[in-house]
């Protein structure tokens, strides 16, 4: 098991390059502003349902930055869930794609107006389609990992999901299939624990003190980290990914995160004041350490807010898919 990180002492200097800190911050702000715009679009009737990842930027952005980005088994696969806009933006996606998906326009790059916000699909970067049934991605992930192991190289499979969903059998499937002694698999199994499953608290959902402990029974190396600290998240993810890349074995990482706007539009999508706001905390530290000034950070946020408003206006006026397009892509020959 790895050493405790010194970064938790807020007096210690931030142990990442300035450039990287600024990049992480930039992407966190971009993600937050995107999510706020998505919520606003939903509230203005420019979308039917919102679900997304505000509060998880500190974890999701480093994840996207650390992924080996590309198509095919030599690169990392991501079997994501619906709170991962930060990861997608860190992979280089432009926010307007997510806005188009919210507005379900024909131009929605992830589903052509067919799927909910946050349900990304990006074959060019090995991002498997996000599905609404929770946890099924944990059953699929071992498959891509098997191919990667066979092909060789250092590509790994990353699968993410929520804590409540670990009650589904798919989570056990992933633990079993990735840790068979005869064929361990290069899977980074991630659980983002926001302590809720819609309205049911963790206490009503699962009894293990730490989800990561479920890895023990399978001999899977595992750890629980503070996913609200982007620096800790970056360093821990890096270490876990290096282990999976090199050893070709699974790692179970539990990241404790906040759920800043409730579960989804189904629970109101309003800012929750008693949760840790990872962006606010990070900005405090960046200011303290002289990495960025308050003014610079405010300017950045304002700029993104304007960009996002402009992009939302573009998306708003774009056409919906043609009704006949329901017949397209049922089978691959129709491509």
């Amino acid at each position: 098991m790895s050493r405790p990180r010194l970064i938790k002492e807020s007096s210690a200097p931030l142990p990442l390059d300035r450039e990287l800190l600024v990049r992480i911050h930039d992407l966190m702000v971009k993600t937050r502003v995107l999510e706020e715009r998505l919520i606003q679009m939903y509230k203005q009737g420019h979308g039917y349902f919102w679900i997304g990842g505000p509060g998880e930027e500190a974890f999701n952005v480093p994840l996207g930055l650390l992924m080996k980005k590309g198509q095919g088994p030599e690169y990392d696969f991501l079997h994501a869930h619906y709170r991962q806009s930060g990861t997608l933006l860190a992979l280089g996606e432009e926010p307007i794609g997510a806005l188009r998906q919210m507005k379900n326009t024909a131009s929605d790059p992830y589903s052509g107006g067919r799927n909910f916000a946050g349900h990304f699909s990006l074959r060019k970067y090995n991002v498997a389609p996000v599905s609404s049934p929770i946890e099924v991605q944990y059953s699929i992930a071992p498959g891509t990992a098997m191919v990667q192991k066979r092909v060789g190289g250092d590509g790994i499979t990353i699968v993410t999901g929520g804590d409540a969903g670990t009650a589904e059998g798919d989570f056990a499937t992933c633990l079993v299939w990735s840790s068979r002694p005869a064929n361990p698999l290069p899977v980074l199994i991630i659980v983002t624990n926001n302590k809720w499953g819609i309205s049911t608290s963790a206490e009503g959902q699962h009894g293990e003190p730490r989800v990561s402990e479920r890895g023990k029974a399978f001999n899977i190396r595992s750890k629980t980290i503070n996913g609200n600290d982007p620096v800790e998240a970056y360093l821990e993810l890096k270490e876990a990914m290096e282990y999976v890349r090199k050893e070709r074995k699974p790692f179970l990482l539990e990241a404790n995160v906040s759920r800043l706007y409730g579960h989804s539009s189904a629970s109101g999508a309003n800012y929750v004041t008693d949760e840790v706001d990872c962006l606010k905390d990070f900005e405090k530290r960046l200011e303290q350490d002289g990495v960025l000034t308050r003014q610079q950070m405010d300017d950045l946020r304002n700029r993104y807010t304007e960009d996002m408003a402009a992009a939302a206006r573009i998306a708003r006026d774009e056409p919906l898919p043609e009704p006949e397009s329901i017949w397209k892509h049922i089978f691959a020959e129709d491509k």
């Binding site: 699909s121 049934p133 699929i140 498959g143 098997m146 191919v147 499937t173 691959a332």
Partner: protein, 352 residues
């Protein structure tokens, strides 16, 4: 001539050596058993999975996404039900990603009655499976078609559900698979694993096997006739053919269609036949309420009503919760030879 299990094995051998199949897997699919129905003995890409159907379907999807070409097996279709949402997901992956992803994967599973399998080894899966868009669904009734449909399935860019009628797995074919040896004993010596210790055994695959493919979506006209059409697939198909032969002796001319593919299906062939005979009986052994044959009846009524001389009929399994083990119970639950002959005779005699 090869039986269906041998035909499946030979097709899989061909597919893993020529068509890029990378993984043939499922419970007991690999050595030493090679499948509880022997369909995967001696193949080089086989492996035994954990006893986890969701894992099997999930892994197949992941392997297909990763660039592999999997053929996954669910030991009995009765056990595929806890994967139904994954099957739905596999079926909608291409569509929901607006064509970005496609899943070239095959799932094989034995279906139906006929081995005295009792409540959990006798189920049919045709109605459920044809209810999930985005899949191609096939069910052979002869070893040659089993071979040819599997070759096509392994070339597909889309998920294919390959339903194996258990009752026919051990029935020898009347047609030769291109490349199989002329005599059964030779074939068996070459490719059937010995009983007992198999650790040293290796199959000798017939070298002349060909890429003989039965196109998905094409039915087979098994017997021509002009008074009544019967459309079936899987276990009940040979029963229909025998019924037609019996009725020919009585002077009743029955046209027999083996659908082979349930999705997409050969409507053109059925339509031409029904327009010619004016009478049609659909036969399968899935439970009769919300049965795939009901869809065919509905389409027949919608499109061919004015060509009909009698109402289209469906002969299917009884709507009971399971197939009981006792011979009398199984026989009473799913269509038997006599039921089919009787139903066809009655339909042929029905007057407007």
């Amino acid at each position: 001539m090869a039986n269906m299990a041998q035909a499946i094995r030979m097709a899989l051998h061909y597919a893993e050596t020529h068509l890029g199949v990378t993984d043939i897997f499922g419970e007991d699919v690999g050595a030493p058993l090679g499948g509880v129905f022997t369909c995967t003995q001696g193949l080089k890409t086989t492996w035994n999975s954990p006893l986890d159907e969701r894992g099997i379907i999930g892994a197949a999807m992941g392997i297909a996404m990763g660039g592999g070409r999997p053929v996954a097996e669910i030991q009995f279709c009765d056990y595929v039900y806890n994967t139904i949402d994954l099957l739905k997901l596999a079926g909608n992956t291409c569509w929901s990603s607006n064509g970005d992803w496609n899943l070239p994967m095959v799932v094989r599973t034995p279906v139906g009655s006929g081995i005295r399998g009792s409540i959990y080894h006798s189920h049919s899966f045709d109605a459920t499976m044809t209810h999930i868009p985005g899949w191609k669904v096939v069910m052979p009734s002869t070893p040659l078609d089993a071979y040819g449909l599997l070759i096509s399935a392994c070339k597909e860019q889309n998920p294919v559900m390959y339903l194996e009628p258990k009752a026919l797995l051990r029935v020898k074919g009347e047609e030769r698979i291109p490349g199989e040896p002329d005599d059964d004993r030779t074939l068996s010596k070459l490719i059937d694993a010995p009983l007992g210790d198999r650790s040293q055994w290796k199959p000798q695959w017939p070298e002349a096997l060909e890429a003989f493919a039965v196109p998905i979506g094409k039915g087979k006209l098994v017997r021509e006739g002009n008074q009544v059409t019967v459309v079936s697939y899987g276990r009940t198909l040979p029963l229909c053919a025998r019924a037609a032969a019996t009725l020919a002796d009585e002077g009743i001319s029955v046209e027999v269609i083996d659908l082979r593919s349930l999705w997409p299906y050969d409507w053109d062939m059925m339509k031409a036949s029904i327009q010619k005979t004016g009478r049609v009986l659909f036969v399968n052994e899935d439970t009769e309420v919300t049965n795939f044959g009901e869809h065919l009846v509905r389409r027949t009524v919608d499109e061919l009503f004015y060509s009909l001389l009698a109402p289209p009929r469906l002969l299917a399994g009884k709507f009971v919760p399971g197939i009981g083990l006792a011979d009398t119970l199984e026989m009473a639950s799913v269509p038997q030879q006599n039921d089919i002959t009787t139903a066809l005779r009655a339909l042929a005699g029905e007057q407007p």
